[in-house]
Subunit: 131 residues, 2 copies
Amino acid sequence: MEDTSYLISDIASHTGLSIDVIRYYEKIGVLPPISRKENGHRIYSRSDLERIMFVTHLKRTQMPLKDIEQYVRFYNEGQYDQCYNVLKEHKHYIETKLAEMTESLERMNYKLENYQQIIQTSMITEENTNE
Amino acid sequence: MEDTSYLISDIASHTGLSIDVIRYYEKIGVLPPISRKENGHRIYSRSDLERIMFVTHLKRTQMPLKDIEQYVRFYNEGQYDQCYNVLKEHKHYIETKLAEMTESLERMNYKLENYQQIIQTSMITEENTNE
DNA sequence: GCTTGACCTGAACTATGGATCAGGTTGTAG
DNA sequence: CTACAACCTGATCCATAGTTCAGGTCAAGC
């Protein structure tokens, strides 16, 4: 095992989260409790970093902080079957969103074509008006 | 042209928005201003309904109310080239999200497999413990 | 003629997800 | 030895997106 360790600033630069947000997330239980150095500074292990990377991934895919907190709690308690359930539900959410987004993209393309026509037409009209 | 008309409650049931939200959206400019009956009640046309359906679609795909408001304003002012720009930017947003979601789905599947293994293993361990 | 239900307005309240600030402690560098 | 950076806690503040409430109008049915 490597005993690589990280400061909160390292975690910030790895995840793109601000230092304030990292502390906030730990406070509300979205990140696991982190051990401290003698002076009280947080000291992160490699596995802490990996957990945090996964959490930021969950957040990017719109999982509410409440649900993430639940997931992290289950994990801390070793209730992996519950972790499984939470992720499975989130998977369904993502699938639904994915379908919605795909449909939306089509609509957007259709609308954009419409606007292109409208814009073209109105340009011709302006030309005529100027004659 | 059909002169079908709708009450706010009809709009609510067609869109899934609450009546309060519909009024709120109109107030902040996310929906166009709607004409009234003599008694002050909103009276929606077919084209109002269609615009509102499109707006709810934009909202479902995470467009911020501010941006929707901008889009609706441009449309009201007949600035269709600006409408085009707003939608095009949103299209890029959707494409990005789509890619993110797709990747996320893969990760989720991977994690779920992991958990399945962990759960299986721990069940066997429990069995052994009970011997 | 009065009650009931759908609508109206404006204002206050709520929840979520942070950001920012005040005030304090280390620890290394000049 | 002092100043500067990086961290700490707790508290307050902010934006977004609504929800709820108080008080009022109007039309239809009993």
